[in-house]
């Protein structure tokens, strides 16, 4: 074989391999997705849809099921037939309704889904936009014992990372409080309790702005089509259509203060600042690490030295010299120290 052809063949082989294995859109990804769509998955997704309709008070019909499951009506008929056969749901005048067993089953799926999301947020580096999709896969794979083991390992969390309550093992959970962000009057101070995770693009846009459950907002202006607000000391705005996906409650007395705009990244070498809080955009392992290092409200932090490349910078945090990257320092909101505070 001549070298020219050999190189060409090699290049082609690499291209084909990369295309085949390309995440999400490659043939291999399509194929595995098809394999996953088993009858069990369809049945469980149908149960979730019925539960969803029940909480929203809308009827669950063959059409809505076919839409939710993204499959043919023929296949939906087979699925509903199985649901009725197992006594999980029954067909009535206004569509399908869940039986008690069916509701328990749906709540268990919901529990697994939200637990997995909590796990992904707290213990892994999976990007927020992917939590929901990953959890959709896991919820069909974990059995009850595995779910409970996960819950124990996570310290029995009660809310998922979007702010949704996680049903308890017995299927108990409180109602979500709060109103959509666009129903809030100008001037009010609110705390975010929930961010809708679908559609993914909207969710990622909300995260980009820095919104997260627990974040404190103050509404500055409401115009038709847009809401302007202060978040962590900075002004930001959101289209009303997107604001619908943000649920807030009025801020309580004694709740976390609004964070100032100044970040630790702006504190130079030789300067000192006092920590006010960590931005709610910093969650999971990163947040826990910072807390364990002693980055809590009231901590005096002093810039000691920059590395030879300028980033990271080492700070004196409670007596230890800790190197933090600029991106991390930007999560930490600080204020200038008061008179006498910086001595010590």
């Amino acid at each position: 074989m001549t070298p020219g052809y050999a190189l060409l063949a090699f290049g082609l082989a690499v291209a084909v391999l990369v295309w085949t294995l390309w995440p999400r859109t490659g043939p291999l990804a399509h194929f595995t997705r098809m394999l996953r769509l088993t009858d069990r998955v369809l049945t469980e997704d149908a149960l979730k849809h019925l539960y969803d309709c029940e909480t929203r008070g809308t009827p669950a019909t063959l059409e809505s099921l076919a839409g939710a499951l993204e499959t043919s009506r023929g296949r939906v008929l087979r699925v509903t037939g199985r649901l009725e056969g197992q006594g999980l749901a029954s067909a009535g005048g206004a569509g399908f309704t869940l039986s008690d067993d069916g509701r328990r089953y749906a709540l268990r799926l919901l529990r697994t889904h939200r637990l997995v999301e909590r796990f992904l947020a707290d213990r892994t580096g999976v990007a927020p936009g992917e939590w929901h999709h990953e959890a959709e896969r896991w919820e069909h794979r974990l059995d009850e014992a595995q779910t409970e083991r996960l819950a124990r390992r996570m310290g029995q969390p009660v809310y998922d990372p979007h702010g949704d309550p996680i049903p308890s093992a017995r299927g108990v959970m409180p109602e979500i409080q709060g109103v959509p962000l666009n129903d809030v009057a100008v001037g009010s101070a609110v705390t975010i309790v929930h961010l809708e995770d679908e559609p993914r693009e909207v969710f990622e846009r909300l995260l980009d702005i820095g919104l997260a459950p627990g974040a404190a907002l103050r509404i500055l202006e409401v115009t038709p089509g847009r809401i302007r607000f202060a978040l962590d000391g900075r002004e930001s705005s959101l289209a009303s259509a997107l604001a619908r996906n943000v649920t807030v409650v009025p801020r309580e007395e004694g709740a976390e203060p609004e964070l100032p705009a100044m970040t630790l990244a702006e504190v130079g070498v030789g300067e000192a600042a006092v920590v006010v809080g960590i931005s709610s955009a910093c969650q999971g392992p990163q947040r826990r690490r910072l807390l364990d290092l002693g980055v809590v409200p009231g901590t005096l932090v002093r810039g000691i030295m920059a590395s030879a490349a300028g980033d990271p910078v080492a700070y004196d945090i409670r007596g230890a010299l800790i190197g933090l990257r600029r991106q991390q320092a930007a999560w930490i909101r600080v204020r200038p120290p008061l008179e006498g505070e910086a001595a010590a």
Binding site: P213, Q286, R289, S307, G310, L324
Partner: protein, 745 residues
């Protein structure tokens, strides 16, 4: 491993005036090392990282310790024993952690052992120079158990920094014994033993400090829950703590409440267990209350701990102690991390370490080779021929012995120089500064600055480099460092590179430049390895490793005078000898295989010749040959024996009579010119040489490293990726190089 030593009785104390002095009490300490089967007292050793915890551990148990991993975790576990007043004490070293929130494997291990390992005493080692930060952990330990002794270590360093701590005041605030110590000089250890003994015997009563008031929302929940707990278990000493644990969703506590085990946990074994329904009721109301806790519940708990720690630290600190005139740490740091001096100084120091390793290893390597290969091997062979059949003689001495001897003579000297030097730099505190300076570079490819250190370690030995990744405390970055460590050209591969470069690439240049070109080519290959390390790190963190958790923080510990003897001991025993032993274990059977395939014949040809014949087409496609590929297959245990195997196989296949000692006997030739003559006679060209250098850099890790990767990751998947990725890269690169070369040649 474990041999039982008799427990020594305490020495008689004659002079009563001497009874209390530390010199006398120190005699109660008898280090028992690994002799720890059966114990009377179990002591856990907790503390933040960099508090001198291991110094305390070694001072108490001696240098011999039982090391291993915690069950199911890749968290190192060390156990040792000592005798205290006639009782045998087992000491378990917990991983160094900042907190016990069970957020990482380390924290989970530490917390579970203190909570459920039923230690009689937990000793928390505290850095006196950073009291406030360290007290955070102490307070968390005090929440779990009241049998605690605080060891205030590094008192000498604190004095140097102008920090004074009043142990009595601290003890009064914490409610547990506090012992001031400088473990490095063994000061304060007798008092520590005394305190441990006092707590075990119940002579010292403890009243541990516990956070008096939590955030309002937490207090509101506790106000509802605690009365219910008290009603259900009236004898329970700490209902408030129990309430907090339940609000935290602590499953172990829930189970303990259900099945009555709570009695043993609380230290009141005769606890009256209420009806199961009552326990369920309490658990239900705790679960309901958890919905009402604020999302920042965890943050608030941590905050309260730090507020309390600050108050206690401020009260226990002595003022008016004069600081040392010069703050050496800052002066050193200013130079070592400066924009202009930082990188040149780093280059100088690392270059010095490598130069010392290479230059220093030459002589002992040659001596070992002379002794083990040139003298001992013929002697053993001659001895064997008188008592053994020829084949057993060949298999044992030409195969197993020779491979082992080769690995030892090439591997031992550089490692015995490199590892202690590196560990001394680490102990001194310089290496974290290197990571600090280089982090910007590694951050861009999604890796951790500390990967610079594990990479350097990989130049000594990849298996040791993989073990060293334990210093990277973020899961994703640690996996990146493990998988890419093989791109560091380990010292087993340097001889191959140097020999091949001088024979084939040096020859391309005019004679007076030959050695410079050859040296440049070897350095170029090493740098290419670094480039591949960065490129694959970038690729891995954006693909397969995307989902692993990631955090960053880099503690820069104060500079400390290195503990030379201890460093020598641990780096020789823990790193060098263990790695060498593993290599020998893998090399011995490889030697047998090499001898067997060369001496077993089928159809008039040896197995090796058949294999070479089959591998030749593949070899030619990537510009190598069948001999090289077979050598890499059979020499997978150690890169050190690749060249000897190549030479042996070349002679075998070419039927070159008169060269080499015979079939299956690896050898090297003293003069590179002889090697060059032999290889070019069998069809090697400059292209073969270049490709061999590339393939030596880019191929699967040696089996010792593969095994180590499996042990460290506990995952077949990551092991497979770490093994196959460089191999695929090696074949691709040599293929492309070969075809491009032929295109232009």
């Amino acid at each position: 491993m474990t041999t039982s030593l008799p427990v020594l009785p305490p020495p008689a104390v004659d002079a009563p005036g001497c009874r209390g002095c530390s010199a006398n009490r120190a005699q109660h300490l008898t280090q028992l090392g690994v002799a720890q089967d059966g114990w009377d007292v179990l002591v856990a050793l907790a503390g933040n990282p960099n508090t001198g915890k291991s110094t305390v551990f070694n001072a108490l148990t001696g240098l011999r310790q039982h090391t291993g991993n915690w069950p199911g975790k890749t968290v190192a576990r060390a156990e040792g024993a000592f005798a205290l007043k006639g009782r045998k004490v087992k000491l378990v070293d917990l991983p160094g952690t900042y907190s016990l929130q069970a957020g990482s494997a380390d924290e989970e291990v530490a917390r579970d052992f203190i909570l459920f390992g039923e230690p009689d005493v937990t000793v928390v080692v505290v850095d006196a120079t950073r009291l406030e930060r360290n007290l955070n952990l102490v307070l968390q330990v005090l929440e779990i158990t009241d049998r605690v002794v605080v060891l205030l270590n590094l008192m000498d360093e604190a004095r140097r920094h102008g920090i004074g701590v009043d142990p009595a005041q601290l003890s009064a605030r914490l409610g547990v014994p506090v012992v001031a110590a400088t473990a490095r000089r063994r000061e304060g250890l007798p008092e520590l033993l005394e305190a441990i003994d006092g707590v075990v015997a119940g002579r010292i009563a403890t009243t541990p400090y516990r956070i008096p008031a939590h955030a309002p929302a937490v207090e509101a929940a506790l106000a509802e829950l605690v009365p219910r707990i008290e009603a259900a278990w009236p004898d329970l000493p700490n209902a408030r703590w129990l309430g907090l644990r339940l609000l935290n969703g602590d499953e172990r506590i829930e189970t303990a409440l259900r099945d009555g085990e709570i009695g043993t946990l609380a230290g009141t074994a005769d606890l009256v267990t209420p009806a199961p329904e009552t326990a369920e009721d309490v658990l239900m109301s705790a679960a309901a209350l958890r919905w009402r806790l604020p999302a920042s519940f965890h943050d608030q708990l941590v905050e309260r701990h730090f507020i309390a720690a600050r108050a206690i630290a401020a009260e226990s600190q002595l003022r008016g102690i004069r600081r040392a005139r010069f703050d050496w740490d800052r002066i050193l740091d200013r130079a070592l991390t400066s924009r202009w001096l930082g990188f040149p100084l780093m280059g100088l120091i690392l270059a010095a370490v490598f130069w010392l390793t290479i230059a220093g290893a030459n002589v002992p390597s040659a001596m070992l080779a002379d002794l083990l290969v040139d003298r001992l091997h013929p002697a053993l062979k001659a001895f064997g021929s008188t008592v053994l059949p020829w084949w057993l003689n060949g298999l044992l001495f030409d195969g197993v012995y020779l491979a082992t001897a080769w690995v030892v003579s090439v591997m031992l000297p550089p490692m015995a120089i490199f590892f202690p030097l590196f560990t001394l730099l680490e102990d001194f505190g310089y290496l974290p500064r290197v990571a600090f300076n280089l982090d910007a570079l590694f951050r861009r490819v999604g890796a951790h600055g500390k990967q610079a250190l594990t990479m350097c370690m990989g130049f000594g030995c990849n298996a040791a480099g993989v073990v060293a990744t334990r210093i990277i405390d973020s899961p994703r970055e640690r996996l990146v460092a493990i998988i890419t460590n093989n791109f560091s050209l380990c010292n087993g591969r340097w001889p191959t590179q140097i020999l091949v470069a001088s024979i084939f690439l040096g020859a391309l240049a005019p004679p007076h430049l030959a050695s410079a070109v050859a040296a440049g080519a070897v350095v170029g290959i090493a740098l290419l390895g670094v480039a591949f390390m960065f490129a694959t790190s970038w690729l891995l963190t954006r693909t397969v490793l995307r989902g692993e958790a990631t955090t960053f923080s880099l503690e820069l510990p104060p500079y400390r005078p290195p503990r030379v003897l201890q460093t020598l001991y641990t780096s020789l025993v823990d790193r060098t000898l263990i790695v060498l032993w593993r290599a020998v274990v893998f090399a011995a059977p490889a030697g047998a295989v090499i001898w067997l395939i060369s001496n077993i014949t089928a159809g008039g040809q040896s197995v090796a010749e058949h294999l070479v014949g089959w591998l030749t087409p593949v070899g030619l496609l990537v510009g190598l040959n069948g001999v090289i590929l077979l050598a890499y297959v059979v020499a997978i245990p150690a890169n050190e024996i690749v060249i000897p195997t190549v030479l042996m196989l070349t002679v075998l296949v070419a039927d070159a009579a008169g060269v080499g000692p015979g079939a299956g006997v690896m050898f090297e030739l003293d003069r590179p010119a002889d090697v060059a003559a032999l290889l070019t006679a069998t069809g090697w060209t400059a292209l073969t040489g270049l490709n061999l250098m590339l393939f030596s850099l880019l191929h699967n890790p040696c089996s010792t490293t593969i095994y180590t990767i499996y042990k460290e990751t506990g995952s077949a998947r990551w092991t497979a990726i770490a093994t196959l990725l460089p191999l695929v890269l090696g074949f691709s690169v040599t293929f492309v190089v070969t075809q491009v070369w032929r295109l232009f040649a």
